[in-house]
Amino acid sequence: MDDRKSVFFEELGSIDWLCLVPALCLFCIGIVTVYSAGGGVAGRGAFFAVRQILWGLIAACVFVSFHVIGYRWFLNFAYPIYAGLLGLLFIVLVVGLTVKGSQSWLYLGPARLQPSEIGKIALALFLAKHLCRYPPVTVTALISGALLAGMSGLLVLLQPDMGSSLVYALMIFVGLIISGAPKRFLAGICAAVLASLPVGWHFLKEYQKMRILVFVDPSVDPLGAGYNVIQSRIAVGSGGLWGKGFMQGLQSKLRFLPEPHTDFAFSVFSEEFGFLGTALLLLLFSLLFWRIVDVGLRCKDARAKVLVVVLSSWIWFQMTEGIGMSMGVLPVTGLPLPFISYGGSSLVAISAALGLVTSVYRTTRKNYE
């Protein structure tokens, strides 16, 4: 008993704190933000904050489990896990419930699951395993790998969840880069994507087209789709150097910002904590990303290297998009800002990813093995 206990604590001791501490700080910033965005105790802020803390506890359990089980076990089952994801996404597509016109939720008893969030883990595992087994150095290997991985992205796109499918696409592309695809192939992919953009435009929904047009010029429709962008930009801009202070943000309190606790969480934060706050936020994110890649560089397992880099690309993309969107320099997609936006699925998925990263870190410490 004692023995097992000590092993467990040893496992905990092997957590990569340099990776975890920034994440924990970001999570705390998130609690503060959703509390304020929901209007504090008077509004629904306290409700959001408590719910988010409860999700945080669940996420902590998920993190510890992934860390203790270790990435190797998950990689062993990468194919079945990925097949399971495809099945799940298919089910969601067929029977999923409609939330804001897109079918991305699956109800399992009291819990509401967003498979596309959890699916990012499965996709990363699949890419790490498959791309190291069949390196994309030949056209056949590259195309077959990209097609297999692209199936999940396509299912997510059909939901239709354009934001998440962009994350999937980026993860696949970064996976190909990291696993050593020749530069001319990568250039070819870029050219193909650029060439197909005009075709893709026709498949976009009206509101999605509007979001992009508005991004190009917010004054196209300042009271409609551009309204969010302008208001968010005002929120960010009016934060100034010091910010207006906790709970003092006007833009979010006065219902200027649409969905201040999810999509526009960053705008709330930056209005209340100003440039100093946002600079701190960026610092925490860069520490996290630096460390994740560092773990990949230290370990000896090629699959683990691909895994952590692909995971970092996902979190990075959502961070860039979330912040860029709030500033109005990127189109609105509705993706959650990692750690900050209100929402359980996203938090749990990111914790799982960090659990995998620190389990990779653990193998780099055990030199005696």
């Binding site: 440039f275 946002t278 000896k300 912040i323 500033m327």
Partner: protein
Amino acid sequence: MPDLRPVIEIRARFWRIVMMASILFLFIGLYFFQILHSDRYVKLAWDNRLRLVRIPSSRGEIFDRNGSPLAVNVTTFDILGYPLDLERDGMIERLSLVLSKHGFPIDPENLSATVKRQYWAPYRVVRVITNLTLPQMADLVADPNFPSQCFPMAVWRRTYPAGSLVSNVIGYAGEISESELRQKPEGDYVGGDRIGKGGIEGSYEDLLRGRVGEEAIEVDARGRRIRSLDYRAPVRGKNIRLTLDLGAQRLAADLLRGFRGAVVALDAYTGAVLVLCTSPSYDNNPLSWGVSAREWSVLTDDPTHPMMDRAISGVYPPGSTFKALVALAALQENEVTGATSYYCSGEYQLGTRTFKCWKRGGHGTVRLVSALQDSCDVYFYQVGLKLGINRLIEWGRRFGVGARTGFDIPGEAEGNIAGIEWKKERFKESWYRGDTVNYSIGQGFLLMTPLQIARMYAAFANGGLLVTPYLFGEGRNPPVHIAHSPENMNLVRKGLLDVVRQGTGWRAGTYGVTVAGKTGTSQNAHGNDHALFAGYAPAERPRYVAVAVVEAGEHGSSVASPIVGQVLSYLIARDTRDTAVP
């Protein structure tokens, strides 16, 4: 397999540089927006030079089936201002003074509260004072002390020409309340907007409302408009033409005057509602213009409940009107035929209990048709027992008893046709045969709304179709066929015709049309019995169904049946008049 690791590491370092570079870009971007903020809109908001005005859309109007107006708009004026300007020192006091001088006494506290209630952003317009006429507005604005930051805007207000006659049907449109605002999706409504409450105004809010327009303007430092930045025109709401017949409604209301009760008339085949009258009623005009808390409580505390629509939310024991259903159920289940006879001595002995017939001396030998005609209780006691409570309830449910009809205005009651389990749960008592006896003459725990009774009789009139009553949107819910044989149905209809020809309901047949129907008297624990009559006309080829319920009206035969007779006669006379005109 070649060792991938060297190339992976090179590219991982490259990827790390890409991520760090992107974060640097974001950092520069944030510096740009948060420290240098030079965006045009940020600047406008920052300089307090952006203003948003909501332009209300004109609400769709409501008409009866002949085009008589039931809800129309009139133009009035609101005085608008921006919180930004109003919250400056002394502005509220100054405005309050000007308003008082022109006959609108409103103290500064109230004025601040009004502004606060609608506050959405410093630069979005709020309504300072509403419902001014053109001369009032002109007088006010011409005052040199009137602050130039406030301005008038022409808006619509609802008036209801038919007032209390159809207020239960129409509901009213008034200012949105805090709780309603919270229930609506973000951004659809803001404080000060108007929303339909109850009735047609509530059910068809989305259709009637149209789309609110909005304008963003740039103003100069003194609040004067420089130019329009963006304009979204308001879209007018759709007009609605109801199935209601205002003439028939007025007739029903006149007949009900002085009583508490309800009258409902339906098209027997489609479920289109022609009359939905409740008494006493209330005038919805003041409600749409805004009433004080005291005026409101006078309405809601009134012991006669004028705001309750008795036609759809009043529940009554159906009394003898339910016997037609019992008769049909017994025929369908082969428990009786037209020839089956019972002897009525004036009472029926069940165990130790004695159930009396309404006619003390008894009806003698009765068969189905004569039992309906004379409303013989003893006959139905025995038929009901033979049928059994479960089959009785099942047939009741088939005719829509105990369930909302799916009518398109809110507030419908379900009624009650609960059976054995319900009684056990509610009263911790088992079901007695005496309960079944009560059910078979429409008493006991049975409760129905006048609309449900009308719907049940529509099924007798049209030969077995259960219609969904509606006021707007024809064909929304096609009638459902409920099983029956034509012979059985004809037998029941013969009984209902004889009720009016030579039975208890003869008064309904004295208005020039052949009516078939059934009287009813339902026990009222709080006073005199309620009087009911349900019937349809013309008896040979039924077109309309009507039900009258008069609370504490004692006998259905004397009070309720003439009302139904006159309403049906009016509706049919109107039809022949319409067809006579080429």
